[in-house]
Point group: C2
């Protein structure tokens, strides 16, 4: 395809970010110092050297939520506002940062009811309360749908920042809590939406939904709640940060686009970091991830519900995001010490082989594909 | 009207911001400390006390540009990207801040051509170069139209920050450069758009446009250029800041919504600041602004062109924004000293009377209404 005919959708979201970095170098006449950008690009937040304090990074994260793609069916205005804070706080937390302030940039349709608007703002404020991040400014605009662009600003000690890179062969691969709940919630909400809209195959959809609720109605409700009102692992971010030392390097990221996608992210990030000066990246790099199906914290009922909905539970677990749980790596020796401070699940380890693989319950080993959620694909 | 039936459009943009502050107090259980927010709310940027350095404020500004309302007819992708940086840098500059970094949050239609996207990013990067503010992070999304939410982060010495409030009776009211050019540019672009779209009254519109260009074609082109590629008064912000002392207080804001609207802004801001503890604001406050038509830096050709277009040039000057020039106040004694460092026009003074007025060339005195541009009205 000729470059002039290519569309941004041909790149996908991550390709677009790479493109921005590439164009930055081409466009910048003054040879813009992209070293700050480069250190943290692809990480959860931007790290900036603040001149006034040589020991700290300024940490900033910005995320835009657009009604039609980020607010699932059934989400209240309160939950929209709440989520706009959570997604940004989650990025800061997964760097181990302390919060400084939140900027709210909101566009709303002009016929939005004031009561609904108030509810949305209340969601923002409650989340700011919850995560101890004051609302410090913002902007309002008019648009055809609700758009909330939040920016969270924080700070972290330079030698404590939780990067995506820097893990070693033998490190344990961990997650902060059960995954896949939000993914299941989105599926259930989607079913409900189709039923409400009276679309095709009503009987079949109704049967599926009923079956899911009959297996475990409270699990279904929990899943929906997690999809509608996610929380950020703020506390866990601080605990991990406090355990992060030069000799005992932790790495962490929040799971927003599915576990598989985050695996690729951290491996790519580590690859870049490790061989940033070498030219033959792929030849030399020898780190990968192996996880075990049997170690995944999944309830039997979860598998049954996925089955009833005609879904592969591993797909939900690996390829759908928005859990905002942490994926992190620790040195084996840290295991017991960290267990005293927080709950987590060890699901695998860093291996000395350039693959991402899952050992299934039946002993088979399968490669994990990268198909996470990309907004522009 | 019952509150439950009210729409956000009934409030207008500034009303909405007030509403957000009000709801913040009502919703916050932990009695969120809004003092940071309150100091700078309504000012150009948020000021935050950064704990690590007691002498500095962290300054942050966020602005969302939406294609259908912020990108005039004829604007190139490059100019869209450039403007997204300028609007935020302008806010920081008008606080006297040094730039730290820029976060780019962009949503684009998925069928956007990659070449167009590259051009847009190039606009962002060139502006970042121009204003010495590195791009440090961001987010990309898909939307039905181009939405760019930029966040600029900077810092300023606490006793140097250029607030909107704090002027004294007798202070001179100044602007950094000629105003009204962007306003004229928007009018001309609008005419061209209507002509291109073959709308009604074609002959009349063509005549108007031709007349404008016959009066001064280069002024017309300059006006259009200013509307399409605004610049921020970064240098001027630093000069004003350096002259700002405890004994000789400067105040400043950038003119984004029209001069009249900014007059109301600075008076309201000063009112709140001055009597923040009193209950009878309106009774006690005795400061206002008087400007003089004869002191406005307006070329004769500008007036003629406005006339040819059927517009009142004072309306363009007072009630349309997007110039990104500075409105600032200085103590009389600073006049000569400041003239050595930068160009500016003295257009009036702070008076001991609670009015906003203009002394017309014929000697008549007229009140200035507040009708600036409000996005949600």
């Amino acid at each position: 395809m000729k470059s002039s005919q290519m569309k941004v959708s041909d790149l996908g979201e991550k390709g677009i970010i790479e493109r921005i970095i590439e164009r930055s170098k081409l466009c910048s006449q003054s040879n813009m110092d992209l070293s700050n950008f480069a250190t943290s690009i692809g990480d959860d937040s931007a790290l900036t050297n603040i001149t006034m304090d040589e020991n700290s990074y300024l940490v900033s994260s910005t995320d835009m939520l657009i009604e039609h793609s980020h607010f699932p069916y059934g989400m209240t205005y309160f939950q929209m506002g709440y989520k706009a804070v959570v997604v940004n706080v989650s990025d800061l937390a997964s760097m181990g940062a302390d919060n400084i302030g939140f900027l709210l940039n909101i566009a709303i349709p002009k016929d939005t009811l004031l009561d609904d608007f108030d509810e949305l703002i209340c969601g923002v404020i409650k989340a700011c309360d919850e995560y101890d991040i004051p609302l410090i400014g913002g902007d309002t605009n008019q648009a055809g749908e609700i758009i909330i662009s939040g920016t969270a600003i924080g700070q972290v000690d330079k030698d404590k920042a939780l990067m995506k890179y820097g893990f070693q062969t033998g490190d344990l691969v961990c997650i902060s809590e059960e995954l896949g709940l939000a993914a299941l919630g989105f599926e259930l909400l989607n079913l409900k939406k189709q039923l409400t809209n009276n679309l095709f195959e009503n009987v079949d959809l109704e049967k599926k939904l009923k079956a899911a609720y009959e297996i475990d109605s409270s699990l279904c409700e929990m899943a929906i709640f997690k999809a509608l009102k996610p929380e950020a692992r703020y506390l866990e971010g601080h605990i991990l940060r406090d355990h992060n030392t030069k000799d005992n390097r932790l790495t962490a990221t929040d799971i927003t686009d599915g576990l598989a996608s985050e695996f690729y992210e951290i491996i790519n990030s580590d690859k870049k970091f490790t061989y940033s000066s070498s030219e033959n990246l792929n030849d030399n790099y020898k780190k990968g991830i192996r996880i075990y199906e049997d170690k995944l914290p999944v309830e039997e009922e979860y598998k049954e519900i996925a089955d009833a909905l005609g879904l592969d539970y591993l797909d939900l677990f690996l390829h759908v995001g928005e859990d905002f749980e942490f994926l992190f790596t620790i040195n084996k020796e840290l295991k017991n010490q960290l267990s005293d401070d927080m709950n987590f699940y060890i699901i695998g380890e860093i291996i000395e082989k350039n693959t991402l693989e899952i050992v299934l319950s039946n002993g088979d080993i399968k490669n994990i594909s990268s198909e996470g959620y990309q907004h522009l694909k």
